[in-house]
C-alpha cells in the first residue's frame, strides 16, 4: 500500500495528531465540501475521543483498546486494479443485482456502469463531491452526529471516499444494489469510509451492503452512512457482515425519514471480531414507518453491540424492532433499543423485541431497552429474553431419530428464522437462509482464508 500513512506503526501517536500531520495531504486531494467540516470535527474529536464504556451509549463496548495500537492508514485509493472476480466470489451469487466494490473504503476504480434506470446514480462519494458539490453539500454531515459522537467525528476528519446512491423522484429500482466492502491489506489497517444514500420522493431501492475481509491482517473499520428518505419513498437496507476475528467494525447508519416513507434495516452479523452497529432512524414526517431488524451469530470471543435509536419526532409514526442473537463459547453481545417519543408525537406505535439464545454458561448478553416517552397517547412495547435451547423440543427431535448436533442446528436455525423471514428479497432470503445454516454447521467460508475456526493457521490456509 504505497499511499498509506505508515508512521502510525511503531509510534505512539494520537489519531488527532496523525490527522494534523497529514491534514494538508488529505485536504489537497479532497473536495471543499468534505474539507469544510474537518476543522470542527477535529475540535469535537479532541473533546470526545474514542468512546470508552464510560460513555453511556457505548456502555457495553469499550472501543478504546481496539482503536489504539499499530495500524496503517490509507491516504489514497489503493492501487489494486486487478479483476475483482479473481480475488472474490460472492456467496449470494444467484442474486441478480447491480454490484459495486469498495476496497479499503475506496470506491473501486474498475466498477462497471451496468444499466440502471434513468437518473439513478451510484458511484464514488469523492468523485461526486468534485462533480456535484452542491448535491453533496445538501446532505453531507446533515444527520450523522459528527459533533457529539467521537467516532463520527473521527470519520468526518478523515473521510475521503465511500459510495453514494441517488434515486431520483418516482424511480423504482427493481434490482437490488449490492455494495461489496472488501478489506485487503498486508499490514494492519484503519479505514474511515463515508457513504451517502438519497431517495427522492416516491422512489424505491433495495441496498445490500456486504462486508468482507480478504486478508488476515487486523482491521479497524469506522464507517458512517447517511441516508435521506423523502416522502413516500421506500428503502430496504441490508448489511451482511462476514469478517474475520481480527476485525473491529463500527458501522453507523443514520437515516432521516419524511412523511409516509418506509425504511427497513437488517443487520446480519454472521461473523466478526468486535462489531458495533449504530442504527438511527429519525421519523420526521407523519406516517413514516421504520423497521430495524438484526441477527447476530457469535462464537469464540466475538462481540457484537447493536445500538438502535428510533426517534419519533412527529405524531402517527410506526416503528418495529426485532433483534435476535445466538451466542456460543465465550461470545458476548449487547443490545440497546432506544426509543424516543417526543412531546408532540401522539399516536405513536413503537415495538421492540430482543431475544437471545445462550448456548454456554460463558456466553453473555446485555440487553437494554431505553424508552423515553413524552407523549401520552402512544402504544409502545418492549421485550427482552435470554434463554437456552428448549429441552422438550430437543427431546422431541431426538425421539424422531435426529441426533443431538443436528437437532441443535435445527433449533438454532428455527430461532434465527424469525429475522430471516423479514427479508423480502426472495433470492437473498434463500441465500441468507443457507448461509445461516452453513454458519451453524461451521461450514461458512468467510473469504479465501478460513476464518471459521478462530485459530491461527499456517501458510496459505491461515486462519484467524
Amino acid at each position: 500500500m504505497d499511499n498509506a500513512i505508515k508512521n502510525i506503526i511503531g509510534r505512539d501517536i494520537s489519531l488527532s495528531t496523525l490527522f494534523e500531520e497529514n491534514r494538508q495531504t488529505i485536504e489537497d486531494s479532497s473536495s471543499k465540501v468534505l474539507n469544510n467540516l474537518r476543522e470542527q470535527a477535529l475540535e469535537a474529536f479532541l473533546k470526545l475521543g474514542i468512546p470508552s464504556n464510560k460513555v453511556e451509549n457505548y456502555k457495553y463496548t469499550n472501543l478504546q483498546p481496539y482503536f489504539s495500537g499499530d495500524f496503517s492508514f490509507s491516504l489514497n485509493a489503493p492501487d489494486f486494479t486487478g479483476r475483482m472476480e479473481d480475488i472474490f466470489s460472492c456467496d449470494v451469487e444467484t442474486l441478480d443485482s447491480f454490484t459495486i466494490f469498495i476496497v479499503n473504503g475506496w470506491y473501486y476504480s474498475n466498477n462497471g456502469s451496468a444499466l440502471l434506470p434513468e437518473g439513478v446514480r451510484v458511484g464514488s462519494l469523492a468523485a461526486l463531491a468534485k462533480e456535484d458539490p452542491s448535491f453533496v453539500e445538501k446532505y453531507y454531515g446533515k444527520n450523522a452526529p459528527w459533533l457529539s459522537d467521537g467516532l463520527v467525528a473521527l470519520n468526518t476528519m478523515f473521510a475521503r471516499d465511500g459510495f453514494y446512491i441517488h434515486i431520483p423522484k418516482g424511480v423504482v429500482v427493481e434490482k437490488p444494489i449490492q455494495v461489496v466492502n472488501i478489506l485487503l491489506s498486508e499490514e494492519p489497517l484503519m479505514t474511515n469510509q463515508r457513504n451517502l444514500i438519497v431517495l427522492e420522493e416516491n422512489s424505491e431501492a433495495r441496498v445490500l451492503v456486504c462486508d468482507h475481509t480478504l486478508s488476515s491482517d487486523r482491521f479497524v473499520v469506522n464507517n458512517v452512512t447517511e441516508g435521506f428518505v423523502a416522502p413516500n419513498a421506500r428503502l430496504d437496507y441490508y448489511n451482511l457482515q462476514n469478517q474475520h476475528n481480527a476485525t473491529t467494525q463500527v458501522a453507523g447508519l443514520y437515516v432521516d425519514q419524511k412523511e409516509n416513507s418506509y425504511v427497513k434495516t437488517n443487520n446480519l452479523t454472521l461473523h466478526t471480531g468486535v462489531g458495533r452497529n449504530n442504527i438511527v432512524l429519525k421519523l420526521l414526517g407523519k406516517h413514516a414507518e421504520g423497521h430495524a431488524y438484526g441477527l447476530y451469530l457469535l462464537d469464540k470471543n466475538q462481540h457484537v453491540d447493536n445500538f438502535s435509536f428510533i426517534d419519533h419526532a412527529v405524531p402517527e409514526c410506526f416503528s418495529d424492532e426485532l433483534f435476535k442473537g445466538v451466542l456460543d463459547d465465550h461470545a458476548t453481545a449487547a443490545f440497546t433499543g432506544k426509543i424516543m417519543v417526543r412531546p408532540d408525537a401522539q399516536k405513536t406505535n413503537a415495538y421492540q423485541t430482543n431475544n437471545n439464545l445462550l448456548l454456554t454458561r460463558d456466553a453473555k448478553i446485555n440487553s437494554r431497552p431505553q424508552l423515553e416517552i413524552y407523549a401520552d397517547d402512544v402504544k409502545c412495547s418492549h421485550g427482552a429474553t435470554v434463554g437456552q435451547l428448549d429441552e422438550e423440543a430437543m427431546f422431541y427431535l431426538r425421539s424422531r431419530g435426529i441426533n443431538k448436533d443436528e437437532a441443535t442446528i435445527l433449533l438454532m436455525y428455527a430461532f434465527a428464522y424469525e429475522v430471516i423471514e423479514k427479508i423480502k428479497m426472495d433470492p437473498l432470503r434463500e441465500q441468507i437462509r443457507s448461509l445461516v445454516e452453513k454458519r451453524f454447521r461451521g461450514e461458512l467460508d468467510k473469504c479465501h482464508s478460513c476464518v471459521v475456526c478462530g485459530q491461527k493457521g499456517t501458510g496459505n490456509t491461515s486462519c484467524l
Binding site: F395, L397, R398, S399, R400, G401, Y413
Partner: protein, 252 residues
C-alpha cells in the same frame, strides 16, 4: 420384541416406576391403563429415553438389544416410536424438513441411501391419506398453531411415515373428538402388521373400542398390578379403578 424386567425409574429422587415387567411380541397390541399419577407417561418417556428420568434398576431389551444405555435418537433408529401426549411446537422448523431429516437419519442408521426428494414427496402424499391430515399443515412449522386434534393426528402421521417396529401412543386419545379419534384409530389399525407392535397408554376405555388390544394391563403405583384381555378394559370402565386399588392394598 420388547422385554421390560423389574424397571425402576425416578425423577428428583422420587421413585415413579417401581418394578415394571412387560413383554410385547410382534403383531400384538397392548393397552396400559391406570389412574392418574400411576406412572403411565413416565413409562413411555423412560422407554423413549427422556433424560429427565433416572433409571435406577431393571432391564429393557428391544429386539434383543439393551436400550437403556442408548441415546433417544438411537432408540428411534432401532424402531421405537413415541407418540407424545403433548407434542411440542417448533416454530421455524418446517414439517417437511423435519420429517425428511428424521427419515434420512433412520435410513442412514440402517445403512440405506437418503430418500430422494421425489420419493419423499410421494411417500408423504400416500401417508397423508391414511391419517386425513391437511396438506396445509405439512407446509407449516412443526405443530405450530395446530389444534389439539391436529397435533395428535400429526403424531400418527409421523408414525406411519417413519414406520417403526414398536409404537408407544401416550394418551393419544385425550382431547380428541369422535371424528379425530376414528381417524387416529384407523391410522393405527391400518398400520398394524404381524411384524410390528403397539402399546396404547390411556386413561379411558374409549379408544379401545376402536383399537382392540390383545392385552390390557393396569399400572398402579409404578407397577403392573393386573393383566387381562380386552374385557378388563370394559370392567375398568364400568367399575372404575377403586377395586384395583383395594386389591392392591390387600396384597400389600
Amino acid at each position: 420384541m420388547l422385554s421390560i424386567k423389574n424397571l425402576h425409574a425416578k425423577i428428583d429422587d422420587k421413585e415413579i416406576l417401581r418394578g415394571v415387567d412387560l413383554k410385547v411380541k410382534p403383531g400384538e397390541i397392548h393397552a396400559i391403563m391406570g389412574p392418574n399419577g400411576s406412572g403411565k407417561s413416565t413409562l413411555a418417556s423412560v422407554l423413549a429415553g427422556h433424560e429427565m428420568f433416572e433409571v435406577s434398576e431393571g432391564e429393557v431389551l428391544f429386539n434383543g438389544k439393551d436400550i437403556l444405555e442408548m441415546a433417544p435418537e438411537d432408540r428411534a433408529r432401532e424402531g421405537l416410536f413415541l407418540s407424545f401426549q403433548y407434542p411440542v411446537e417448533i416454530p421455524g422448523v418446517s414439517m417437511v424438513n423435519f420429517l425428511r431429516t428424521s427419515l434420512n437419519e433412520i435410513r442412514k442408521y440402517k445403512g440405506q441411501e437418503p430418500i430422494s426428494a421425489s420419493d419423499f414427496l410421494k411417500l408423504m402424499r400416500e401417508k397423508k391419506k391414511l391419517v386425513d391430515i391437511d396438506s396445509k399443515l405439512t407446509h407449516r412449522s412443526v405443530n405450530e398453531g395446530f389444534s389439539g386434534g391436529e397435533k395428535k393426528k400429526n403424531e400418527i402421521f409421523q408414525m406411519v411415515m417413519l414406520d417403526p417396529k414398536l409404537a408407544i401412543l401416550d394418551e393419544t386419545d385425550s382431547g380428541l373428538d369422535i371424528d379425530a379419534l376414528r381417524i387416529v384409530a384407523n391410522g393405527v389399525n391400518n398400520w398394524k402388521r404381524p411384524d410390528n407392535a403397539t402399546i396404547l397408554i390411556t386413561h379411558y376405555q374409549r379408544l379401545l373400542e376402536y383399537i382392540v388390544p390383545d392385552y390390557v394391563h393396569v399400572l398402579y403405583r409404578g407397577r403392573i398390578v393386573k393383566t387381562g384381555g380386552k374385557e378388563l378394559a370394559q370392567e375398568l370402565e364400568a367399575k372404575g379403578y377403586d377395586w384395583i386399588k383395594k386389591e392392591f392394598e390387600e396384597q400389600v
